[in-house]
């Protein structure tokens, strides 16, 4: 049986985002992928907290994580990260300001991380680190745009369908309660939308 070691998995993730234009970039990405440190998170444990915290770039190897934004004494789940996806607070990593969000493991998760300092280390990853940050910024903008498309759907069923079209295995990666929060639906509406899906199938 062929096994893939975890840094290869991270490299695969990096290559899925990063368009290689020079041969040395692949090599630098390979070096970079070996710099990630892997940690296991239990459900409810924080990847990052609100305020000043570690300015890390995270890569979810397995499990799922959710990013929450605090507002008017309430919290909303604003982004979901599943295996094979990068997670980061753009406040901390890109804009260098205290984070308005926190990110927690929604299920038991294995997550790799690298600090901004190592990412931008001039000696090892001279060109790829800075380019990667700008790719992540674009990625984050596009992701917010895609989520806005989902949330603009006025019926629960269409909203769920739009979310599934963005993340096909959505229903398998997060608990129903978090999914209802994420979609801005009551649990009853979510179950109605799910059962209408079942009827269609």
């Amino acid at each position: 049986m062929v096994t893939i070691n975890k840094s290869e998995y991270i490299l695969k993730g990096l290559l899925s985002l990063y368009p290689i234009s020079q041969d040395f970039e692949r090599e630098e990405l390979y070096t970079l992928s070996n710099e990630f440190e892997i940690q296991n998170f239990c459900r409810g444990e924080h990847l990052w907290s609100q305020g000043l915290d570690r300015d890390n770039l995270y890569f979810v190897i397995s499990g799922s994580c959710g990013e929450y934004l605090l507002h008017d004494k309430n919290e909303s789940l604003i982004r979901l990260y599943q295996d094979g996806k990068f997670a980061f607070s753009e406040d901390l990593l890109i804009y260098g300001v205290p984070s308005e969000t926190r990110c927690v493991a929604l299920t038991e998760s294995a997550v790799a991380s690298i600090s901004k300092k190592i990412l931008l280390d001039d000696t090892f990853h001279k060109s790829v680190g800075a380019k990667l940050l700008s790719i992540l910024l674009n990625f984050s903008m596009t992701e917010y745009r895609n989520t806005t498309y989902e949330m603009l759907q006025s019926s629960g069923k269409t909203r769920l369908r739009a979310a599934i079209s963005q993340s096909p295995n959505l229903l398998n990666i997060i608990p129903r309660k978090e999914l209802a929060d994420y979609l801005g639906l009551s649990r009853a509406s979510l179950f109605r939308a799910l059962s209408s899906f079942d009827h269609e199938e």
């Binding site: 934004l69 507002h71 909303s76 604003i78 753009e90 406040d91 890109i94 804009y95 300001v97 308005e100 910024l137 674009n138 984050s140 903008m141 596009t142 917010y144 745009r145 989520t147 806005t148 498309y149 949330m151 603009l152 759907q153 006025s154 019926s155 269409t158 369908r161 739009a162 079209s165 929060d181 994420y182 979609l183 801005g184 639906l185 009551s186």
Partner: protein, 195 residues
């Protein structure tokens, strides 16, 4: 546009010469009447656009409905871009229609790159401007997740009065992600509760 940059949280007097360089290369004002598709903005371009006056509707093809849908309303004194082209070098997926008479100017991407070489602080202005857009998007997503329509309406009223007092009801319904009927029901109920 100078005022826009000066209002960014990151701005200090150290940015003055960078902003001067940007302002000196801006294109001519483009004026459009209400109710038109703005062709200049639908072409493949990575340029930065600054809306001096009026409101633009940012539209997209909704894959789940028959009609094109409103993505956002751009208020005056905003910078906006074709994200598909700037970020992914794709043809713009969104298009813009004038919601009122508008006036806008172009800041060409080539000029951005050229000025960035001599004034690297421009990159910080770019990041700060992007951070503001992200913040607005994040805030709007919270509103879109509110379960009660009247809460969504109140959010727009309190957080975006610049848009609320300008939008007609149909546009408001699209902006907050509810059907027209749902919006009218919520407004009627709020009226009854007040009485």
């Amino acid at each position: 546009m100078r005022a826009y940059f000066e209002a960014l949280p990151v701005y200090t007097p150290a940015f003055k010469s960078t902003v001067d360089s940007v302002v000196s290369v801006l294109g001519e004002n483009v004026k459009k009447r209400k109710g038109q598709i703005v062709e200049e903005l639908t072409l493949h371009n990575k340029d930065f656009w600054f809306l001096k006056s009026g409101f633009l509707k940012e539209m997209y093809k909704n894959p789940f409905e028959k009609e094109d849908a409103l993505f956002s309303i751009i208020p005056p004194l905003s910078i906006f871009v074709n994200e598909d082209t700037l970020f992914n070098d794709l043809h713009p997926q969104h298009y813009y229609t004038t919601y009122s008479d508008v006036e806008f100017i172009r800041f060409k991407y080539e000029d951005f790159e050229r000025i960035n070489e001599s004034h690297p602080l421009l990159q910080l202005l770019y990041l700060s401007g992007t951070a503001e857009i992200q913040k607005n998007r994040r805030a709007r997503l919270i509103m879109l997740r509110m379960r009660s329509t009247i809460d969504r309406i109140n959010w727009v009223k309190n957080q975006r009065p610049d848009l609320f007092y300008y939008m007609d009801r149909v546009t408001l319904a699209q902006y907050i992600g509810v059907s027209r009927a749902g919006l009218y029901r919520a407004l009627e109920k709020a009226d009854l509760d007040q009485k």
